[in-house]
């Protein structure tokens, strides 16, 4: 290397051909495709995640500590809402004793999963986007890759497995919260029925299938939310502002999908014939 090599300035090469921007529908489809590819990549990367067991447990602990209470609190709200509606509607038909029947059917089948989805996407989902988005903006994701650790395994995989540990706990908390909230609204607040009568109808109108459905429903929602949130966080760009809009975008997708997933499971389990457990 002996002499200074200089190239001429200002040669911009061939004129820039700006690629056509995809339309709204098209870019949504591309986004959905990217999300699917991300999901496949995550599952492939899960192979290497078990070696980061301590990180998995740490993520699960963060979820248990940070999200249990809010899930419980919000699900009691929906229990109260269901009782408020059922009591006043059934009272008009002179059947307010059957308030427990309504909650027993609606809570595990639809109300708890829906509310679980709302809270999970707001608390866990947005939190993940904000956290992973900040990691992406601060180059931490690149740094993991440079250190020879696949961020798909270490960052996304551990959070997914952590969520898997948390899901059974969370759904149990949510179902309990729904029962307690509806009992609270039905008995001390509205004096709808006696506690014994309420609980009798509440428990006799649900069976194991209903609750199994609730676990599947909430679990699939939670997994979807964690995946989507990691996806939007992972591809955040454009500085701090980009993280904010990634959070908003992920929430849009999650909120819509919560309704779709809830309805999907309801139809899968019960069809349009509600198959209610007590005869009528």
């Amino acid at each position: 290397m002996s002499s200074v090599a200089t190239t001429e300035l200002g040669s911009t090469g061939e004129p820039e051909a700006t690629p056509r921007r995809p339309g709204r529908v098209q870019s949504s489809l591309i986004e959905a495709g990217d999300l699917a590819a991300f999901a496949v990549e995550t599952i492939a990367a899960l192979r290497r995640t078990p070696r980061y067991l301590s990180e998995v447990l740490r993520q699960a602990a963060i979820l248990v500590r940070g999200s249990s209470l809010i899930i419980f609190a919000m699900v009691t709200f929906i229990g109260m809402a269901a009782v408020t509606f059922a009591y006043f509607f059934l009272r008009s038909a002179g059947a307010s004793d059957y308030t427990g029947l309504f909650t027993g059917i609606v809570m595990p089948r639809a109300a708890v999963p829906i509310m679980f989805g709302y809270v999970f996407s707001a608390k866990v989902g947005c939190g993940l986007v904000a956290e992973i988005g900040a990691m992406r903006i601060n180059d931490e994701i690149d740094a993991f890759e440079v250190e020879g650790v696949n961020p798909m395994s270490y960052v996304v995989g551990t959070r997914l497995l952590g969520a898997l540990i948390f899901i059974p706990i969370a759904v149990t908390i949510a179902l309990l919260g729904g029962d307690i909230g509806s009992l609270f609204q039905a008995v001390p607040v509205l004096h709808a029925t006696s506690p014994g009568g309420f609980l009798h109808y509440h428990w006799s109108s649900q069976n194991l299938t209903d609750n199994l459905q609730a676990y599947l429903n909430c679990g699939s929602m939670a997994l979807f939310i964690v995946l989507t949130s990691c996806f939007y966080g992972y591809r955040a760009s454009g500085g701090p502002a980009g993280v904010g809009s990634a959070v908003a975008r992920s929430l849009l997708v999650n909120i819509v999908m919560v309704h779709v997933i809830a309805t999907f499971w309801v139809f899968m389990f019960f069809g349009i014939n509600p198959n209610l457990p007590i005869g009528g």
Binding site: A130, G133, N138, P240, G244, A248, L251, H259, T263, V266
Partner: protein, 288 residues
């Protein structure tokens, strides 16, 4: 060698009154203080709303249309799925169980007006319109645009906060009406399919529907959604303009804003419904 240890930068709290030495160290104190600041912001918004300088109105209409355009499609998807699934599957099942299948129309009419239609509307409102508004304000805050506006002499309240809060307050009832209509429409279409061969007919559906849905219910619905929209607007603006702390800051601000809004709108929903139905028991008297 590089020496000179630096003290880590910690957020410096605002001047505190003297008495609260140990109180201020409690974790709940900060939360309470922020809740108080939100309340103060809400009052300031209301005061500015009625103070006669109305150059913010065009901006407000613009924000309203942006928020509505953001919300319509998600609301449509969410409500159709939910409406068909929940209404036909459970509600239909339960009224049939109690031998009152002819009341399906009325039940769906007031049911969606009181609960699930409102849920979907407020969730979409907070989750889609509120969060993106908060993200936008937070991004401007981080880019120091808000300071630049202040330097240029634009009043923060009328230039930024008021139009956005009022926009969400308007969007609340509009979006709610939309979701409820979608729900009614989707159940109206789905009922003959779901109840094929039973006594539920479309005529009975429409009759009980008309008998049940009362103006009082509609008023409750509009007032509730207006309050919910106002709350979401205040929370999201507050969190947006207070966001700080680099890349994670805006994300965290949006996260907290959404969580507080969700919690708040559910409180509003429960309180309104319980109070309304207890105060006006005539709305649930059978007319069909």
């Amino acid at each position: 060698m590089i020496a000179a240890p630096q003290k880590p930068r910690r957020p410096v709290a605002a001047a505190r009154p003297e008495w609260d030495g140990w109180v201020a160290d409690m974790p709940a104190y900060g939360k309470l203080m922020r809740a108080g600041e939100m309340g103060r912001l809400a009052l300031a918004v209301i005061r500015a709303l009625f103070t006669p300088r109305f150059w913010w109105i065009p901006e407000c209409l613009n924000e309203t249309s942006v928020a509505l355009r953001r919300c319509f499609i998600p609301a449509l998807f969410a409500m159709t799925a939910f409406g068909v699934g929940l209404a036909c599957d459970f509600f239909g099942g339960i009224v049939r169980l109690l031998g009152t299948a002819d009341r399906l129309g009325g039940g769906i009419g007031i049911g969606f007006l009181r609960e699930p239609g409102v849920w979907v509307a407020i969730m979409i409102l907070a989750g889609v319109a509120g969060s993106s508004m908060c993200a936008d304000l937070g991004a401007r805050k981080i880019r120091e645009e808000l300071d630049a506006l202040k330097v240029l002499g634009v009043e923060e309240m009328r230039g930024l906060i008021l139009p956005r809060v009022i926009a969400l307050t308007l969007v609340g009832p509009i979006l709610g009406t939309f979701t409820v209509f979608v729900a009614w429409l989707s159940t109206y279409i789905a009922t003959p399919i779901a109840f094929h061969g039973s006594t539920v007919t479309l005529a009975a559906f429409v009759d009980t529907f008309k008998a049940f849905v009362s103006p009082l219910d509609l008023i409750n619905f509009v007032v509730k959604l207006t309050c919910a929209g106002f709350l979401v607007g205040v929370v999201c603006c507050y969190k947006g303009i207070r966001s700080s702390g680099g890349a994670e800051g805006v994300g965290r601000a949006v996260n907290e804003a959404v969580l507080i809004s969700f919690f708040g709108v559910w409180m509003i929903n429960i309180l309104f419904n319980t109070l309304f139905l207890s105060l006006f028991p005539q709305v649930s008297i059978l007319k069909g």
